[in-house]
Amino acid sequence: MNVLARTTTSFARSSIGKKIIVALTGIPLLLFLPGHLAGNLLVFVGPDAINEYGLWLHNLGHGAAVWVARAGLLAVFAIHVIVTIQLTRQNKAARPAYAHPGTIQASRSSRIMIWSGLTILAFVIYHILHFTARVGNDFGGAAYKTTVHGEPAHDVYKMMIDGFSWAPASIFYMIALTLLCSHLSHGFASVFQTLGLRSAKTEGLIKFLGWAYALVIWLGFLSIPVAIWIFGYGR
Amino acid sequence: MSLVLDSKVPPGPLDQKWSQHKINSALINPANKRKFTILVVGSGLAGGAAAATLSELGYKVKCFCYQDSPRRAHSIAAQGGINAAKNYQNDGDSVFRLFYDTIKGGDFRSREANVYRLAEVSANIIDQCVAQGVPFAREYGGLLDNRSFGGAQVKRTFYARGQTGQQLLLGCYQALEKEIRRGGVEMFPQTEMLDLVVADGHAKGIITRDLRTGQIDAHVADAVILATGGYGNAFYLSTNAMGCNVMAAYRAHRRGALFANPCYTQIHPTCIPVSGDYQSKLTLMSESLRNDGRIWVPREKATAEKLRQGAIEPREIAEEDRDYYLERKYPSFGNLSPRDIASRSAKEVCDEGRGVAPTGKGVFLDFRDAIERDGAEAIKARYGNLFQMYEKIHGDDPYATPMQIYPAVHYTMGGLWVDYDLMSNIPGLHVLGEANFSDHGANRLGASALMQGLADGYFVIPATIANYLATQTPGSVTASHPEFKRCKEQVRDRIATILQVRGRRSVDSFHRELGTTLWDHCGMERNREGLQKALKEIPRIRDEFWENVAVPGNASELNQELEKAGRVADFLEFGELLCHDALHREESCGGHFRTEYQFTADDEEVRDGRTQPGEAKRDDTHFTYVAAWEFTDVGKRPTLHKEPLHFEEVTPSIRSYK
């Protein structure tokens, strides 16, 4: 084995190496969310805006960009999940339980990372099946065909309105988002710690930014099912 | 039969003895070094430094400590600093001045050549520690900071906040771990030395007990080094760690090693007072507190009585009703008077019934005036962590109400007798650090203990041990030597005997009783009557111990009571030795104060102003010697051997702190 391979392997096997991988794979996910949110919020501008956006996305780079992005995100997401599960298993094995456990300052978010993470995993699978693969619904059917500037396009607007009109979907979506918010608040600050970019001086700022980011993501995504399911927007 | 104690001090001028000695010392070639096995017992500054350095040189080293890691040896608790004659401050310090201060501080009861060597290598210690990464305090220019310590006239103390001992020990421990990894040192933590094996007149091994499993092992070697610390815990309450004990040194003593000057014990004046019978140890508050705190007790006994009952608060006592006794008695040194003077004066006012702690044994250390003068912030910056520690332990806020302090046993200058090569009278047995008697005479200067430990371990023993090893064939004695078998059996028998007693009193209760006896009669002040009383008391306690001690459990498991019992059993014999030495030394010097021997107003030296009443009165004509005691039998008076002390460079003088 050459030096590079050896170094990479021992890095990927080490505790810190694994954590750095989790942090690095977290970054694209953190960056993806605001973009996804911005696109989704076009639903409030109107059917044309979001459908046009959808079409633009699908035509980008002669239709290749969206697949590249999907593949990239999926890979990053898969690594993030797999390495985290490995870490968690090691962690569970490292510590026998106290008969009388106590906690001093660890935040609730930090303590439920694996549970919030697994819920998000389940949600993402559901979400992709729901809106991307369109399994178990007819979002891919003729009723959801429309045109944008004369070009045939998928009616994203109608799909969202219909999708969120179904209560169980909206409820699951809202629960998952809340856990996502918790996950992000700890994950955002953790990226800085794990990559060694945090210090006592920047701690407050990073914590604040983490919360602010998580809150914006939460409120932004939440606004859609709330508007559609509770307030009947677009129905 | 009287042994001839040859100090083997090399000839020649004082300042060339050490370099000349190194030139004349034997050398062992690298290929042969690895054939020699050396046992190092203790992993503090002296032992850890010796083990690491000897391994670097190529010897095979086995190192033992009772703690679960060599990093926890009690050197770690030293707060103040380490002296070195670097003269980085350009304030007139030199090797000679450090030597002179040390020998004068020791009340002219130490060997000139040893002390000079200590001062000489002190500078190398700092270089070594800095290179290891010891984070000494620094100035903004990036250079090392120094402070003056313990009343020294020059700033020669290097320090790492209030944790100098910790940082030095960690440096040493890291060097040791490096050698362990390399395979040069085999480490035996949680392993206690229970006996020394002397085969054909030479120290060739030790018997140990693995404290986790109870296993008894014999370790064979070409030389043995003891660096096992002092015997302050004989007094039960002291600033030592709970596990500190005299067992290794005392077992060696029983095998023939002479024990020198055990009566030189240092009492530290600024400790947190005892609060009750359950008390397990005393906590030292750094001496630096005396730079700003003022020590006082009420002028009247009745006021003190009210304070003790809580009827009045210290702050309510008017200025004229306070007695700042150190400032009154020693106007020029005041609150910074030497440790023994400050300690004895505290005892004196408490004996008069003017003590302020609930037990009557405590005096105030008051920061009111310093806070008024410099502001609470400045005081906090200087002593914040100490004040916090005090508040944690005592419960009072030192910013609002004066601290209570009382003296406690801190350090022991006496130890196994060694020559210039740090070898005891048993060939092959070397003794380093606090465990030997060599450098501090009758009293130790502040910030000198760390210096001595590291000097012995890093620089002296690596050079001198070759003088012994060169006379030996490596591996000449093996474990099949009958002496190993015999010692192992004796150790097993002793443990069995302790376990068979199955009495009703805990080990601690005996230790406390011994401690009280020693503190009362052989503590800060001693006199003939008290010492004779103690010499009657101790055998009685010892006899009861062997009839009535309760040690639960068995020998083949982790058994903390059994560990303690073995140590206390030795203290019960050692206590007598301590009293014998104190009784025989009919003078007062350094840490040994005999009330019969003090200056009074009638003495010429007092009348002509050279000293003051109450000062220790040395008797240079009769007692300028090292008292080295040979074990005879339990309960029997040990045999005294004398090593006369010769002063070529300095003239013993009377000290005065008026």
């Binding site: 590079l4 170094t7 505790s15 990559l195 060694g196 | 940082q167 421990y173 309760a550």
Partner: protein
Amino acid sequence: MNLTLKVWRQDGPNDKGRIETHEARDIPEEASFLEMLDIVNEGIITGGGAPIAFDHDCREGICGTCSLTINGVPHGPDRGVTACQLHMRRFRDGDTIWIEPFRAHAFPVLKDLVVDRSAFDRIIAAGGYVSVRTGAAPDAHAIPVEKENADAAFDAATCIGCGACVAACKNASAMLFVSAKASHLNHLPQGEPEKHRRVLGMVRQMDEEGFGNCTNQYECEAACPKSISVDNIALLNRNYAAATAHEAAVAP
């Protein structure tokens, strides 16, 4: 005061262990927590029972020997102190106190409350030092050290190696301990040449000992009797990445 103690008892490394209830009667509130255990043990011994084994030595917060988890928190409820510096006035008459050993698979229990922390020594041996032979050192003033660096090194060097960080961590991670030692030496010019080797060696050993991974919860910092900052962990993470890159680029 009178207290009820729920104490972990375990006869040896292979015993399963159990919680045992002991009554602590007439405890003076000036006593330290360990002195309270002394009093309880004195009663057990004179009653013919087996005393509670617990680790302790200096009893002034510096040796790092004492290792009790009190009510689920290593070293007990006060911040910045060890168990030996904790005093009974911190508790109330009638309290029930849970006392357990420092728990981590890398710290096997030897007996009752005594654990084996030799993993820490092996981590130091794997790189927590500066390789300088005795006598080979240049003059102490030969290399000035920026005061800020000297102070940062000191802050990290105050670690007493007690293992509370591991015991407090939900994952039994030793990152605070390892990072404190690495940070101490890496901050100094004397430690610079071995920086990469040190970091890689210590982390490798830490992983081999079976400690868990840091999940940035900072329980370690809160439990640390010397209040060592998790900044050191951030620094170690960075240094580890740099050391890996260095190894890949430079190592033979």
